[in-house]
């Protein structure tokens, strides 16, 4: 079981909670009317850097809903040392907010002082998975809260890979004894870009290790390559995959990410409502089919 098993990772929000990524342009509207949203998630780097820490905004958010932390610069697949000072700053922020968990991506982001500010892939091999797991263990050892690793969306796959993406992901999470932050949109984007069945991916998931799932919109280029842009509503295919995930592993908390081309706060809350509706539709269909077969 994950290292942080002594803590209840579901504390602060219900197992079927639906949250949204809270971005500064939404602060005023979200604080005025947070109904329809069960928890917030914020980008940790926005509040741990050298710039102003809008602590009053985060404190206000925390007074209304639980606030989970999500990162974009941990560099788990990197070859530079883990930035332990960064993890300690995240740890302090988590303590201040009583955050239920922290997550970051299974990717690399920097090399020798150069920062890509992107989430970059590597080949999927046992050796690289073991390297990432050792780094994830360091991260978890510095955090007082559960650490979840998010699966990446990618546009390139490599000849040197010896594992499928889901085997690679599972190996890292299992060896490091940490948690999963499962991004359903990322599974779909990678599946379409590399030609695998996203349902095979879902079937590999140990759902009791999922902190919560992410949903987001993506962009399709003219050549068909899908790019994880977080600038649009969740597409129908991803809602379908979410329904499958719920059937396989639900209930689990769900979070809507929307980072670019931001909609109104009301539209974002509608997206959260759609997630709730999805599960009901699935349940209704299942109920109907059971009744039909009984008749």
């Amino acid at each position: 079981m994950p290292r942080a098993q002594g803590r209840d990772v579901r504390r602060n929000f219900a197992r079927d909670a639906v949250g949204v990524g809270l971005r500064p342009p939404h602060f005023a509207d979200a604080f005025e009317d947070p109904s329809g949203v069960d928890f917030f998630e914020v980008i940790a780097e926005n509040y741990t850097g050298t710039g102003p820490v809008p602590a009053s905004n985060l404190a206000r958010a925390r007074s209304l809903r639980p606030v989970a932390l999500h990162g974009v610069s941990l560099d788990l697949l990197g070859s530079d040392p883990i930035d332990q000072d960064h993890v300690r700053r995240v740890s302090e922020l988590a303590a201040n907010l009583d955050a239920p968990c922290f997550s970051d991506h299974l990717c690399w982001t920097r090399l020798d002082g150069w920062h890509s500010h992107d989430l970059l892939p590597t080949p999927f091999t046992e050796k690289i998975a073991d390297h990432a797991a050792a780094r994830a263990e360091i991260v978890q050892s510095l955090l007082p809260i559960p650490f979840g690793i998010e699966n990446l969306s990618s546009y390139a796959a490599f000849e040197g890979s010896t594992l499928t993406e889901w085997e690679f992901y599972k190996r890292v999470v299992d060896l490091a004894k940490v948690w999963r932050m499962l991004d359903i949109n990322n599974i779909y984007v990678s599946a379409m870009n590399h030609g695998f069945d996203p349902r095979s991916y879902l079937e590999s998931i140990d759902w009791d290790r999922v902190l919560y799932v992410h949903l987001a919109g993506h962009h399709i280029r003219p050549d068909g390559l899908r790019i994880d842009t977080h600038d649009a509503p969740v597409c129908e295919e991803v809602w379908d995959l979410y329904r499958d995930a719920w059937t396989l592993g639900g209930p689990f908390p769900t979070l809507i990410e929307w980072d670019d081309n931001l909609p109104s706060w009301g539209r974002l809350v509608e997206e959260a409502d759609t997630a709730r509706l999805c599960r009901k539709v699935r349940r209704t269909l299942v109920t109907e089919s059971v009744l039909e077969s009984a008749a």
Binding site: G49, V53, S73, S79, R110, W114, H117, T122, A156
Partner: protein, 270 residues
């Protein structure tokens, strides 16, 4: 993990290779810039070849950085137009690759531009943009209030400039134009009319302001870069006795514009 580092070096070199700007908002992603070994290791599929797949990362890298430079330097973009601004920003970024903090991406842009044999007005516009950006991103000190009067009189605390306060001399007041550009308003082409002055940029909460100040006050504020309000005033009054009668007005102006912060005198005397 030598193999991993080797892979990542090839990747970083390939995806940070500059785009070729073609004009009319178009850019080419030249495949000859890619590391051959890296390219050969990327699997084609679903009708998308390795060049296009690596190119997706390269486009994202440059799109993200140039978009940030456009956002941080709207005055320069206004003067040049984006067609000219984008290749210039890309040349700067090639020499100043991003570090961990994207807020610092354009910090050296005015200095770099100043070495490029470009019009002084363009360089000045980027100094104004940078002052605005730095004011927005600066930390906040506690603001002085009525409860501080006794401690101030006892010398336990001092009044200093908020880190957000930026003082700069310019050939014209760029700030109304900058605010209009940030708000997406229609603005006339070209720079504002000349009107030399000293301007103070400051921030209260998330609201930025720029105020034109008289020369004597500018001297006091410049003196506060490494001194307290009292220390700086004492030096100015020593050489400009007429400043004494302005002190109360200046202090009130600073209160209303959020210039002042409070520090313990263990940090700074006065």
């Amino acid at each position: 993990m030598t193999a991993l580092r080797d892979f990542q070096e090839r990747w970083a070199d390939s995806t940070s290779a500059p785009l070729r700007f073609l004009g009319q908002g178009r850019a080419e992603v030249p495949a000859e810039d890619y590391d051959r070994k890296l390219l050969a290791s990327i699997l084609p599929g679903n009708g998308v070849d390795a060049v296009a797949r690596l190119g997706a990362y390269r486009l994202q890298y440059w799109f993200r950085l140039i978009t940030l430079m456009q956002k941080d330097f709207p005055l320069a973009g206004h003067l040049l137009g984006w067609e000219e601004f984008n290749p210039l920003a890309a040349s700067y970024l090639k020499e100043h690759p991003p570090t961990s903090d994207l807020d610092l991406l354009g910090r050296d842009f005015p200095t770099w531009l100043g070495k490029q044999d470009l019009p002084a007005l363009l360089v000045e516009s980027t100094r104004v943009d940078l002052a605005w950006n730095l004011a927005f991103g600066a930390a906040d000190l506690p603001v002085p209030g009525p409860e501080d009067v006794d401690r101030l009189a006892a010398g336990e605390i001092g009044i200093v400039l908020q880190p957000s306060v930026r003082i700069l001399s310019a050939s014209r007041n760029w700030f109304p134009l900058r605010i209009s550009l940030a708000e997406g308003d229609a603005v006339p082409a070209g720079p504002p009319k000349p009107r030399r002055g000293t301007f103070v940029v400051s921030r209260t909460g998330s609201v930025l302001r720029a105020e034109s100040v008289e020369p004597l006050l500018a001297k006091v504020l410049r003196g506060m870069r490494n001194r307290s309000w009292i220390e700086s005033l004492e030096r100015i009054v020593g050489t400009h006795p007429e400043a004494e009668e302005r002190v109360s007005d200046w202090f009130s102006l600073g209160i209303s514009l959020g210039w002042w912060g409070v520090v313990e005198t263990s940090h700074r005397s006065g």
